[in-house]
Amino acid sequence: MTEESDAEETPSDSLFQAPPMGEQERMVEAVLFASAEPVSVRDLESRMPHGCDAAEALVRLRKRYEGRGVQVLKIGDAWAIRTAPDLGFLMQKETVETRKLSRAAIETLAIIAYHQPVTRAEIEEIRGVSVSRGTVDQLLEMEWIRFGRRKMTPGRPVTFVVTPQFLDHFGLESARDLPGLKELRSAGLLENRLPPSALPTVSDKDEDDEDIGAGQPELFED
């Protein structure tokens, strides 16, 4: 404030000389871009070097973005960069909701990947709990697993194997590229900490009534 008037008269003025307007425009552009919320002129100036004229820089920046894919908008007292309204249709993908696969699904998938071709009974044997139909259906639907050959054992049960889409998603050339137990251990993924499964809860129960006996072993699922 006082420095501003001083700057015009004293020899120290170069110290406080504001950067050129082009530079100020860059600054405003970067701050508006990186900020999570609209930024007020006052806030902009408090961040910028002394003597900057954020209001002027904003006017120029707004002009520069006219007709571009994004615009500089005033929202209340503050400023922000927003997508041009006619391009809203491009933003649809921004709301695709990605959810982590459930623990049951990840474990089932892991067993299929490591033991394929593997039957449902074998998966249950390894996991120690029954596998709900929903879990398998979900993995089938995602096209990460598919039915393999039937096993030549009594009942000729179907097997599951992983798909090329699975390999693609996880960046693997083949399922053989999966790290082995020894490597998992040396990468610190196989600590001997007590598994959370030691505490039985009833949450995350699969609603698959058709599986006989499903209810009870599921009790011990994480």
């Binding site: 709301t95 993924l189 006996g213």
Partner: protein, 253 residues
Amino acid sequence: MSVAERVAAEALIVDVDGFEGPLDVLLTLSRTQKVDLRKISVLQLAHQYLAFVEKAKALRLELAADYLVMAAWLAFLKSRLLLPPDPTEEGPSGEELAAHLAFQLERLQAMRDAAARLMGRDRLGRDFFARGQAEDVARIKTVTYTATLLDLMQGYARIRTRDEFRPFVMDRDSVFTMEQALERMRPLIGFAGTWTDLTTYMPDGWDTDPVRRRSATAATFAASLELVKEGHLEIRQTETFAPIQLRRKDERS
């Protein structure tokens, strides 16, 4: 030994825990030679390293085995470098071994410099920034499920670790289900005109192993309750922990 050298050596010893292995010590020692790593005197370095180990021993510092292995090897290398080559001896010459050691040091130093340059770069979230407010314009909502390779491996590791904690998981062959118990009991209860102990309905071969017995008892009991609910059975227990008794329900009464 000059004072400066002594001070340097002392510093090394005090810091022995701070070293990342013998190669790191050698690299630090090599700096005192003040020459290009390519022109380093491996012989001199071997001397320095052996002196370092001696000093550590004198101060009764515990050196990890790696350091001692390196000391033994450098002593061997030293002798090879000093003695005229023995034509009958097999294996790489002293010079070849020394050259490889110099290469290792140079490569480690190069990686350290590279690491420093890498960490000194402009970095996301510190020097340059991503969009602060990712826009959320769309109204379309689809759910996709995702998992990373790490999730997958951790999941697998979790199962394999769990194997060591089997007690929490029932083996299938030790589980007698309520359905099985019902199937067993239905034809039997027609004969239960008088009060009969529940245990007499237990399946054969399920009474010795405690795990199997527990499962069979629970299933038989649950099946009995089911049959009571259906109106086929009556059930009684005279006092807490007393035997549970069953009787066919007289349909006419």
